[in-house]
C-alpha cells in the first residue's frame, strides 16, 4: 500500500512513532545517567528537530519548562556549519548562555540524521550536568555576577566528527569540571540517546518517504494548533493584568523583584506582555529570552492543551512580547545560574491574570519555587560528595476540590524527591523528619495543599545553599481564599543557636547541626467559611488543620449536634 499524503491513518501512525522515538531516547538517557538531576529530577528533554530547527516531537515526562526549545540550539549549529556541514557520525555539544538562555549546566547534545546520504533532521537532547566548572558548585549559589564565572561554554562544537572523538574538546571538558566521571558518563548517555533517535527517524523516513513524513508532521502541528485555538476562543477577549513579587535577587535582600504581566486575549490568539518585568539583576537570577518564552508557554499549554504532545505547533497561537534586558531576557554577559527560579511565580502570575476571565480553569497559587537543596563537602578519604534533593509543596485550591499537597512546582513534572533511605546510604546525614506541614495550606472552601517539613542532621562538616522565595507575595488565594504559609529554612546549630533563612549561599555546617526545610502551602480557593464541615472535621481528625486554625480561619465551632451540618452554597 502506498499511503496517501495526509490520510488520517498515516498521520496517526507517524504521530505515535515520532513521540515513541523521543520517549525511547529519554528512556536510554534516564536509565543510564549518573546524576540525580537526570535520573530523579528528570531535568532533561529529548526530541527530533527538522532541518530548519523546528520541533518535530518531544518526549513525554521530561521537565515541563523545556517546551519545544531544543530548536534554537540546533539552529545555531545550522547557521554555523550550513546544512552541508554535517556528516554521519557527527555529534555536537551546545550550552552557550546567550543562545540557550539557561544556566550552563544544561548541555544540549545533538546529532544529524541522514537518509540515503541526505540530511533529514536532528535528534537532540538537553540534560542537566551535575557540574560545568566555574566558581561555584551545587545549585542555588547566588555568588556569580557574569556568565564567565559560571563555567565552560560550548557553542555548537563537534564532540564527534564523522564518528571520531574530538580528544581536545573532550579533555578540555574533563579538566575543567568537578565530578568529570559523572558528567562524562552523562555525556555518553546523551550521545547514545541521540544516535537512537537519529536511527529511528531515518527508519521512519525509509518506510514512508521523506515527503509523506514531513507532510504528516505539518498536519500534526496544524491539529495541535487548532486544538489550542479552540480553547482560546472560549475565553472572553480582553486585556488581563496581574502583578506579584519575588523576594529579592539573593544579593540585595531588601529589594523585591517585580513580576508584572499583561495577558491579551484576542480571538484565537493570546499575547503575553512582559514589559512590566523587573530589569535584569547583577546576580544569577536571570534567564535569557528562552526563560520568558518558557514561562509563557507553560501557562499557555496548561490552559489550552495539557494532554497533547509537545511539538512546534503547540504555540503558534501564542505571542510573547518580551523586551530585552529584563530578568527573563537578560543581555550578555549576565549570570544565568538561577535562570529557572523566577519561572514558577511568572507562570502563577500569568494564570492569576486570567482567573477573573476563566475562574473554572484557574486554581489558586501554588508554593511557587523550585524547592531544592544541595549540600557539598568531602568524605574522610578526600573524595567529594554532593547531595541534592528536590521537595514538593502545596498547590492551590481548585474550583471544585482541594489542592494537592507535597507536589513539585509547575516547572517540574515527573520530578522525584530522593528517598531518605537512599540519602542515608550515600551521604553523611541523618534525616530526622519527613512530614506534611500542618496548617500550611491556605484556608478556603477548597483548601490549599500542604507543604512539607524535612530535617537533616549533618554528620560531617559541609556547606550548602538555601533558596526559598515568595515571602513578599505568599501563595495567594482566589475568590476569598486565604494565602498559603510561606517557605522558610531553620538552622539549629549544635551550639544551641537558631537562624531562619530564605536565601543563603555557602552556609557552613558542622557535625550535629540541623537544618529544617519548611515548604510553602498552596493558596485557598473560595471563602473558608463555606468549607464543608465534614471535610473540615476530617482535616482536623487527620491533623492537617489544627483546631485553633479551624476556629480562626474557618469559623469552626465544635460540633454540638449531628456531625454533618448543612453548609451554605
Amino acid at each position: 500500500m502506498t499511503p496517501m499524503k495526509n490520510d488520517p491513518i498515516t498521520v496517526e501512525v507517524v504521530r505515535n512513532a515520532i513521540v515513541a522515538y523521543a520517549d525511547e531516547m529519554a528512556e536510554a538517557l534516564c536509565k543510564s545517567a549518573y546524576n540525580m538531576m537526570i535520573y530523579e529530577v528528570r531535568d532533561y528533554c529529548c526530541g527530533l528537530i527538522d532541518t530548519t530547527g523546528r520541533m518535530i516531537s518531544q518526549n513525554r515526562g521530561g521537565l515541563p519548562i523545556f517546551l519545544a526549545d531544543l530548536g534554537i540550539a540546533v539552529e545555531d549549529g545550522i547557521k554555523k556549519y550550513g546544512l552541508q556541514g554535517f556528516e554521519e557520525g557527527d555529534v555536537l555539544v551546545m550550552n552557550h548562555g546567550h543562545i540557550c538562555g539557561q544556566h550552563l549546566n544544561n548541555v544540549v547534545v545533538y546529532a544529524p540524521c541522514f537518509h540515503d546520504g541526505e540530511l533529514i533532521g536532528f535528534a537532540a537532547n538537553r540534560a542537566h550536568w551535575v557540574d560545568i566548572g566555574g566558581g561555584r558548585q551545587g545549585f542555588g549559589s547566588n555568588a556569580t555576577t557574569d556568565i564567565f564565572s559560571e563555567g565552560l561554554q560550548m557553542r555548537s562544537l563537534k564532540i564527534y566528527k564523522a564518528g571520531e572523538l574530538n580528544d581536545t574538546l573532550y579533555q578540555i571538558i574533563q579538566d575543567n569540571i568537578r565530578y568529570p566521571d559523572a558528567s562524562l558518563g552523562d555525556l555518553r548517555a546523551q550521545v547514545a540517546s541521540c544516535q537512537i533517535g537519529a536511527k529511528r527517524y531515518a527508519e521512519l523516513v525509509a518506510r514512508y518517504g521523506r515527503g509523506v513524513v514531513e507532510s504528516c508532521v505539518e498536519t500534526i502541528w496544524d491539529q495541535t494548533d487548532k486544538a489550542a485555538r479552540q480553547v482560546i476562543e472560549r475565553i472572553p477577549d480582553g486585556t488581563y493584568s496581574a502583578e506579584s513579587f519575588l523576594d529579592n535577587d539573593g544579593r540585595d535582600l531588601a529589594t523585591p523583584l517585580r513580576i508584572a504581566v499583561k495577558v491579551i486575549v484576542s480571538g484565537s490568539t493570546i499575547t503575553v506582555d512582559f514589559h512590566g518585568m523587573h530589569p535584569q539583576v547583577n546576580g544569577p537570577l536571570n534567564s535569557g529570552r528562552s526563560g520568558g518564552i518558557a514561562a509563557a508557554r507553560v501557562a499557555f499549554k496548561a490552559l489550552t492543551s495539557p494532554e497533547l504532545d509537545v511539538n512546534e505547533g503547540c504555540f503558534r497561537a501564542l505571542n510573547v512580547d518580551l523586551p530585552d534586558g529584563t530578568i527573563l531576557s537578560a543581555r550578555p554577559p549576565a549570570a544565568l545560574g538561577q535562570w529557572s527560579i523566577a519561572l514558577p511565580t511568572v507562570i502563577d502570575t500569568i494564570l492569576k491574570a486570567l482567573a477573573p476571565a476563566v475562574p473554572e480553569l484557574i486554581p489558586a497559587a501554588h508554593k511557587g519555587d523550585m524547592g531544592g537543596c544541595s549540600f557539598f563537602g568531602f568524605y574522610e578519604d578526600g573524595s567529594r560528595f554532593l547531595l541534592m534533593n528536590i521537595f514538593g509543596g502545596g498547590w492551590g485550591g481548585r474550583p471544585h476540590e482541594d489542592g494537592e499537597s507535597a507536589a513539585v512546582s509547575v516547572c517540574q513534572g515527573d520530578v522525584r524527591n530522593t528517598p531518605v533511605e537512599l540519602q542515608e546510604i550515600k551521604y553523611p546525614f541523618i534525616v530526622e523528619r519527613h512530614a506534611l506541614r500542618p496548617d500550611s495550606g491556605g484556608a478556603g472552601e477548597h483548601r490549599g495543599g500542604l507543604g512539607i517539613e524535612l530535617t537533616y542532621r549533618c554528620l560531617r562538616a559541609c556547606r550548602g545553599n538555601i533558596n526559598f522565595d515568595r515571602t513578599v507575595t505568599p501563595p495567594w488565594g482566589l475568590h476569598g481564599g486565604h494565602t498559603g504559609e510561606v517557605s522558610v529554612a531553620i538552622i539549629d546549630r549544635a551550639d544551641g543557636t537558631q537562624q531562619r533563612v530564605n536565601k543563603a549561599t555557602d552556609v557552613h555546617f558542622a557535625p550535629g547541626d540541623r537544618i529544617t526545610f519548611l515548604t510553602a502551602g498552596g493558596g485557598g480557593y473560595g471563602d473558608p467559611r463555606k468549607r464543608s464541615r465534614t471535610d473540615l472535621d476530617e482535616d482536623i481528625a487527620n491533623g492537617l488543620v489544627s483546631r485553633e486554625a479551624a476556629v480562626r480561619d474557618y469559623g469552626y465551632a465544635e460540633p454540638q449536634m449531628p456531625r454533618r451540618i448543612a453548609v451554605n452554597g
Binding site: 536509565k31 558518563g185 494537592e404
Partner: protein, 687 residues
C-alpha cells in the same frame, strides 16, 4: 494426573483442565458477588468433579480489583517517628506535567490511622534509637479502638535490620490475634521507604478480603474428597500455595495476565524459538511481553492503576506492556479532526454497537465486523449473533460523517489505528529494548488477538506469527505449566572488587535460609528446588541497576571479570553504550527459587500430535484488507477441521469456537504437527 486452571477475569471465568488424558475447557460469566460460585459453575460446565482432581491452579483479579475499587480493609500503618507522612508524600512527582488539576496517588491508609513509634535504625543496620515498647503498646490500643482490621508496619531501614519490625509484629499478633498483620521486611528487603511502604500497605489493604475469599474457596473445594494442592498464580509468573497467598496477597495482583505469557513461553521453547513476543489482546487492552529462551522477562516494580495516581508496588512482575486498545476500544474524532482509538472502552454491557443492545459508540470489534473479518453468526461460538447494521450506523455517525469517510473506509482506518497503537506495546518490549523484531516471532492469543496479530507483526517486520491451540482461553492453559516460585531480595551495597567473601556469603546464606523455610512450609523437597541468583549492578554514580545472573558468590568476591563482562554487555544492549573501565557496584542480591511441576501434562498436550476434530468446512465471503473500495473474496476455514501439515495462502479467515484468525494476502499458513498455526508473513518491500 488431573489438573485444572481457572482464570477469573473481569468479564469471563475461563477454565482449562487436563482430566483423564483429555483437555477440557469452559467459559462462563464471572460472578463478581461470589467468585466461588463462578468457579463451581465453570467446573460443572466442563464436567469436572473436584473430587477427581489432583490439583487446582487459580488466578483471580480479586486483589487488583480490591485496590482499584478501594474496597479493602480498614487499615492502619505504623511508621518510625518523624516519618508518618512518607506514604502520603510519596515521591512528590506530577506525571501529568501540564495539568493544573493533576492527581497524585491517594494513600490507602488515612493519616488518622497512621501512627509513629519512637525507634530508629540506620542504613548500616545499627540501632540509633531503641524501640519504645510502651508507645507500641499504646498504639496497639488505639488501633484496636479505631476498629482497624489490618495493620501495615514499615520502619526506616528495616531492609537492613528487621529486629524492630519483628518485635512490633510479635506484639501486634499477640495483642490482636484476629488482625491481619503485614511487616514490610516480610514482603521485601529492599531500600526506598515510600515504595516499600506502599507495597506493605497494599498487602495489608487487600489482605483480609483476599484471605476471606481464599478461605471460602478452600472450604468449598475441600468440602468433598478433594485433597490435592491448591495453587495461586502470582505476578512473578509462578505459583504459590493457597496458604502463602493468604499472607502475601499483594503478590497475586497480576495473577491473570501473566499466565498466558507463561504458556507462550512454554510453546516458544517447544517450537525452538529463542526469542519471541507474547501478544494477548482482550476487550480493553493489548498486552505484550518479550519471551527469551522460553521465559518472559521479569522486572521489579510497577504501578497498580493509572500511571499518574496509581499505587506503586515493588515486587517482581512479568514485564507486560499494556496499551489501551482492545476489541472494545472506542473510536473517536477530536475537535481538530484527529482520529483516535481508545483508551476508553465500552464494557461487556451494553458492549459494542454490534451487540445490538443500543450502544452507539463504534469500537474495534464493530470495525472488524464491518470489514467482514468476523462472522456475525459465529461470535462466541455462535452464542451471540452480531448486528452489522448497528456497527455501520455507529461508525458513520461518530467517525465517518466528520471525516467524510464511508463506514468501510472509517472502519478500515479504525482497525489500522488500533493495529498501530497495539504495535507500540509490541515495540516497547522489542525495539525499545534493543531487540530487532525481524529476529523474533509472535505468539498471539486472547479473544481478539489472532484477528489483529498479523497486521501488527507486519507493522514492525515480525516475520512469523504463531496462533496456538485454544487461543481464546490460553491464559487458563498457561496456569497448568507454571512453576512454584519465590523471589527474595536483600539490599546489599558495595563496590565490585572490594566485597569480602564473608560479607557476600552472609547475605547469600540468609537468602537461602529464608527460601528453605518457605520450601519446608510448602512441602518442596531440596532436590526439587532450583536456586538462581542475581546481582543488581550499576556503574558507580548511576542509580538504575540491571539484574545480572550469577552462578556463585565467588563471581562477586573473587574473580569478578565474568560478572563485569556480563554487565557491560547488557548495558550496551539496553542503552547502546557501556563503560568497561568504570567501577561497578552491587545494590541488591536476589534469589529466585523455583520448583518445576512434577507433571508436564499441559506441555505434553501442547506438543501432542494434532488430529482434526471436525468435518472439513470451507466457505467464502468478502473481506476488506488494505483497500476499502476493493474487498477481496476470501476463503473461510473451520480450524478444528484442518489436519496437521495443511497449508493455505492468504487471504483467508480461519474461524474457531472462541476466536477468529485473519490471514492477509500472500501470507502462508501451515498447521503444525501439534495443531498450532504457523503463519509466515509475505515479504514486504522496505522501499
Amino acid at each position: 494426573m488431573n489438573i485444572v486452571g481457572i482464570d477469573i477475569g473481569g468479564t469471563f471465568t475461563d477454565l482449562v483442565g487436563y482430566v483423564d488424558g483429555k483437555i477440557v475447557t469452559s467459559k462462563t460469566s464471572t460472578v463478581p458477588a461470589d467468585p466461588t460460585q463462578g468457579i463451581a459453575r465453570s467446573l460443572e460446565l466442563a464436567n469436572c468433579d473436584p473430587n477427581e482432581l489432583n490439583e487446582i491452579l487459580h488466578g483471580s483479579t480479586i486483589a487488583i480489583n480490591t485496590v482499584l475499587e478501594r474496597k479493602g480493609a480498614r487499615t492502619a500503618l505504623i511508621t518510625t517517628s518523624g516519618f508518618r507522612d512518607v506514604y502520603a508524600i510519596g515521591r512528590s512527582n506530577r506525571i501529568q506535567a501540564f495539568n493544573l488539576f493533576f492527581k497524585r496517588p491517594q494513600p490507602l491508609v488515612p493519616r488518622s490511622l497512621t501512627f509513629e513509634i519512637p525507634e530508629r535504625i540506620l542504613a548500616s543496620g545499627e540501632v540509633l534509637e531503641a524501640l519504645d515498647e510502651t508507645t507500641v503498646t499504646a498504639v496497639i490500643a488505639e488501633i484496636e479502638a479505631a476498629g482497624a482490621e489490618s495493620v501495615a508496619v514499615c520502619l526506616m531501614h528495616s531492609w537492613a535490620n528487621p529486629d524492630h519490625e519483628r518485635r512490633v509484629g510479635d506484639m501486634l499478633r499477640k495483642a490482636l490475634p484476629n488482625i491481619f498483620v503485614t511487616l514490610s521486611h516480610e514482603i521485601l528487603r529492599e531500600y526506598r521507604e515510600y515504595e516499600r511502604s506502599s507495597t506493605t500497605a497494599l498487602n495489608a489493604f487487600v489482605g483480609p478480603r483476599v484471605e476471606g475469599y481464599l478461605k471460602r474457596l478452600e472450604t468449598y473445594l475441600r468440602s468433598g474428597a478433594f485433597d490435592g494442592k491448591i495453587h495461586i498464580m502470582r505476578s512473578n509468573g509462578g505459583v504459590m500455595s493457597i496458604g502463602q497467598a493468604q499472607e502475601q496477597p499483594v503478590s497475586m495482583m497480576e495473577s491473570g495476565p501473566v499466565a498466558g505469557m507463561i504458556g507462550a513461553g512454554r510453546l516458544a521453547k517447544m517450537l525452538g524459538l529463542k526469542r519471541c513476543i507474547g501478544f494477548d489482546m482482550g476487550g480493553t487492552t493489548a498486552k505484550s511481553s518479550l519471551i527469551t529462551d522460553g521465559a518472559p522477562a521479569i522486572e521489579t516494580g510497577y504501578v497498580i492503576g493509572e500511571e499518574a495516581d496509581g499505587q506503586p508496588m515493588q515486587l517482581p512482575v512479568v514485564n507486560i506492556v499494556e496499551v489501551g486498545a482492545g476489541g472494545g476500544s472506542i473510536a473517536w474524532v477530536d475537535n481538530a479532526g484527529g482520529l483516535h482509538v481508545g483508551p476508553q472502552s465500552v464494557g461487556a454491557d451494553p458492549g459494542p454497537a454490534c451487540y445490538g443492545k443500543g450502544a452507539d459508540l463504534p469500537v474495534v470489534t464493530d470495525a472488524d465486523l464491518i470489514l467482514g473479518r468476523i462472522n456475525p453468526q459465529r461470535f462466541l461460538n455462535g452464542g451471540m449473533p452480531l448486528d452489522k447494521a448497528a456497527s455501520e450506523q455507529a461508525m458513520l455517525s461518530k467517525v465517518g460523517n466528520t471525516l467524510k469517510l464511508n463506514p468501510v473506509e472509517a472502519a478500515l482506518g479504525v482497525a489500522k489505528i488500533a493495529d498501530s497503537s497495539m504495535s507500540l506495546s509490541v515495540r516497547a518490549v522489542s525495539i525499545n529494548k534493543g531487540i530487532d523484531p525481524r529476529d523474533t516471532a509472535m505468539i498471539a492469543f486472547g479473544g481478539a488477538g489472532p484477528l489483529h496479530a498479523i497486521a501488527i507483526a507486519r507493522e514492525i517486520y515480525i516475520p512469523l506469527v504463531i496462533i496456538p491451540k485454544l487461543p481464546g482461553t490460553f491464559s487458563a492453559l498457561g496456569m497448568l505449566m507454571a512453576s512454584w516460585r519465590q523471589d527474595f531480595v536483600q539490599t546489599f551495597i558495595g563496590r565490585i572488587g572490594e566485597l569480602s567473601e564473608a560479607g557476600v556469603e552472609k547475605v547469600y546464606a540468609e537468602l537461602v535460609a529464608t527460601g528453605r523455610e518457605q520450601m519446608k512450609r510448602d512441602g518442596i523437597a531440596e532436590n526439587e528446588a532450583d536456586h538462581r541468583f542475581f546481582a543488581d549492578l550499576r556503574y558507580v554514580g548511576q542509580e538504575h541497576a540491571i539484574s545480572i545472573p550469577i552462578e556463585n558468590t565467588g563471581m562477586l568476591s573473587g574473580d569478578t571479570s565474568e560478572v563485569r563482562k556480563r554487565f557491560d554487555t547488557e548495558h550496551d544492549r539496553r542503552y547502546s553504550q557501556s563503560a568497561p573501565t568504570e567501577a561497578l557496584e552491587i545494590v541488591s542480591l536476589r534469589l529466585v527459587l523455583t520448583a518445576a511441576r512434577t507433571d508436564n501434562v499441559a506441555e505434553e498436550w501442547l506438543s501432542r500430535p494434532w488430529e482434526p476434530e471436525a468435518e472439513a468446512e470451507v466457505g467464502s465471503r468478502d473481506v476488506v484488507f488494505n483497500d476499502a473500495a476493493k474487498p477481496l473474496k476470501t476463503a473461510i476455514y473451520w480450524r478444528p477441521a484442518l489436519p496437521a501439515g495443511f497449508r493455505l495462502t492468504g487471504p483467508a479467515v480461519i474461524e474457531e469456537p472462541n476466536s477468529t484468525i485473519l490471514i492477509h494476502p500472500g501470507d502462508e499458513v501451515v498447521v503444525h504437527e501439534a495443531g498450532h498455526l504457523l503463519v509466515t508473513l509475505a515479504k514486504q518491500s522496505e522501499e
